[in-house]
């Protein structure tokens, strides 16, 4: 594995969960909305989990071709409105509108901006996310995340782990998969990337999913500094 790692030229980064705290930020916004509505904020974790579950399910239906393409922003809006209606949550229209755009305000993890800036000195650094481009642009601006290239599943109307999204990165940037590493906190994202010949780096994040005992990722890192320490220090500038 160590020998292979020396070949890395490009890092493809998952964003939601990996560079920004999606779960915590959304739960906080749901909690604030409930408090402002005079409702019980302790429901926020349960409701935001339910929201995340419905978003995943809609994305799965898009990937399966069972429903038409819907951007993640549209999915967020539709699903929070459903949940509010079905659970009888007393949020007025402005509160629901604010929650619908919560995806644009996810907090970066404290190490994300600096690590990304440092890794960009050595590697081609590319976002490969299920968030749509306006959301990625807003999160990048607010979180100080900056890139050599930014790609979204939106460009091929599919969501990771659909193969079209990994192929998008390989094809659009003409990358050698054997010199490209997917960085994510989601084991499912890395397993799918590995199926396309990509190297994989798992980064543990609070609230994330641990790898299965059978997962074999090229790097398992406790945070982005740990990842940077496990990557080669010298990289051929033309390697892609």
């Amino acid at each position: 594995m160590a020998g292979e790692r020396r070949r890395v030229g490009t890092l493809l980064f998952d964003v939601l969960g990996t560079l920004v705290d999606e779960t915590g930020s959304v739960a906080d916004e749901v909690g604030s909305a409930l408090t402002e509505a005079g409702s019980d904020p302790s429901q926020s974790t349960r409701l935001s989990r339910e929201w995340a579950r419905r978003i995943s399910e809609q994305q799965r239906l898009v990937n399966a071709g069972e429903i038409a393409w819907t951007s993640q922003d549209q999915v967020r809006r539709a699903t929070i409105n459903e949940i509010a209606a079905e659970h009888g949550i007393p949020l007025d229209r402005p509160a629901l509108e604010r929650l619908a755009t919560a995806g644009h305000r996810l907090r970066p993890w404290p190490d994300s901006a600096a690590a990304l800036a440092s890794l960009a000195e050595r590697f081609l650094t590319v976002a490969l996310s299920n968030a749509d481009l306006p959301t990625l642009a807003d999160l990048s601006r607010q979180g100080g995340l900056r890139w050599h290239c930014v790609l979204s599943g939106e460009l091929v109307r599919a969501y990771k782990p659909h193969p079209a999204v990994y192929r998008l990165a390989l094809r659009m940037l003409r990358l050698d998969p054997g010199r490209t590493m997917m960085v994510a906190t989601h084991p499912w994202d890395l397993r799918a990337a590995a199926e396309h010949g990509l190297m994989t780096a798992y980064v543990a994040r609070p609230g994330g999913t641990a790898p299965d005992p059978t997962d074999q990722f090229d790097i398992v890192a406790s945070d982005l500094a740990d990842l940077a320490g496990q990557l080669p220090t010298e990289v051929d500038a033309v390697r892609r």
Copy 2:
């Protein structure tokens, strides 16, 4: 104008010529290739101008629908091969192959990386270029240019000044054109941007084209520091 400028939230940057020295870098590579081939390097300016002219002409034919989509990388390769054959330039296959990829090695202007990093603290910073995405990724990595989002005419198979490219940025990032400024050293790029309601900033660069006396750009800057000084210091974070 000064009042309007205060509304800027997003800067769309032309890259070739504006952030990297396309003309000088290409002429240098042509000169080196001629020298290595034992040929007269003083032809390099003439040949590289001829090359640029043919690239522009091919892009015009793509925009006019007279030839099929061809990426800028492919256009560069085809046109240098044509020129070498027609002018009887004694370059062997490896020398031609190296010139064909010269677009990936354009030198950044000395102020580009730092200015872009500084402007990214205030504005949404987006590349909007006729270079294809692999080229933009390589130029950004080598030149230390980093972005919140990177867009290429390749995504809509058209070249600026074709309207589809400006519409791509407005549509994909859901930008308000009245809060968006195109930054370029090419007057033709800014004139086309203005037709879509975008604000415009002309940045003078060595070897570039001066504005016409009738051009009315929102900002005319001598370099990127001058541009930064003419832009507002306080920007609403959610303004797009």
